[in-house]
């Protein structure tokens, strides 16, 4: 089993009005040197497979078809083996 952490970001060419608005907040706070604020999403979950390759395959499908929209977003993820929740066995 693997613990997966996905980060979804707006593609660089896409305007991020939310990031811009938040950055205005920094200005109001008097924090002066903040630039290029971009807001994305962080998603975590586990994948219950034996091999890393099959975990990656499922994660890619999940990210491509549902978690992100490739027209406006890019994603990246990390995989980390974790013990099986039920059996307490180490994943391979």
């Amino acid at each position: 089993m693997f613990k997966v952490k996905v980060i979804i970001k707006r593609r660089p060419s896409i305007l991020d009005p939310q990031g811009k608005a938040v950055e205005k907040g920094a200005e109001h706070l008097g924090i002066k040197n903040i630039n290029d604020t971009r807001i994305g999403k962080y998603i975590e979950f586990t994948v219950d497979t034996e091999s890393k390759a099959s975990a990656e395959k499922e994660v890619n499908e999940y990210c491509n078809k549902l978690l992100s929209n490739p027209i406006m977003e890019d994603y990246e993820f990390s995989l980390e083996p974790v013990p099986h929740s039920g059996s307490g066995r180490e994943a391979k």
Partner: protein, 241 residues
Amino acid sequence: MKPRFGVVIFPGSNCDYDAYYSLRKILGFDVTFLWHKETDLKGCDAVILPGGFSYGDYLRTGAIARFSPIMNSVINFAKDGGYVMGICNGFQILLEAGLLPGVMLRNKSLKFICKDIYLSPVNRDTSFTREIEDDTIIKVPIAHGDGNYFADEETLRSLIDNNQVVFKYCSPDGIINEEFNANGSLMNIAGIINKEGNVLGMMPHPERCCDAVLGKTDGRLIFSSLANQIIRAKAVTTLAG
């Protein structure tokens, strides 16, 4: 004959009854609801994906509704030439389903905008706009937080080349510029159609401006264009048969 419309209900749809009311009580068409877990389109001539916040708009607007069982049937129906109209959240679902190109970003102002706006029907040669007379600007309400239409340059070029932009936000007398761009959409785009001409998506709500009691009736023009198109097409099929 009466054209038969199907209005899909997703969990979180909230303009489903408005669409039903306008199509049935005001315009007198045959209308049936289609539950998102069903797969049977019940012989409808046209399917309406209504406005709302399907599945709470979690992840992205329309992202989860797009995988509802009914959507497989709607996608096949559209691919066979069936008429599909997505209004507001319905438009967002059509984009996520890939039936129309592009995406919706958050409104440029970051505000949820709920007001009447004016639309220039820049393409009147579609099954959805044929009854809008030349130079007529229509008044239709919008109510959305994510209506800022975006597409990459290539997609935008293809939309223009194929005359797929149907509605643009404009002034009451038809001036199309940034001042009257309701939400920051590229080129003031408020509605687009697919290349084949049978799938329309629009952010404004024509179903909210059909009943004269509400003070405006321009929405009728869009639904009656579609209904008459269906009637004509059926007459041709009957003659040919």
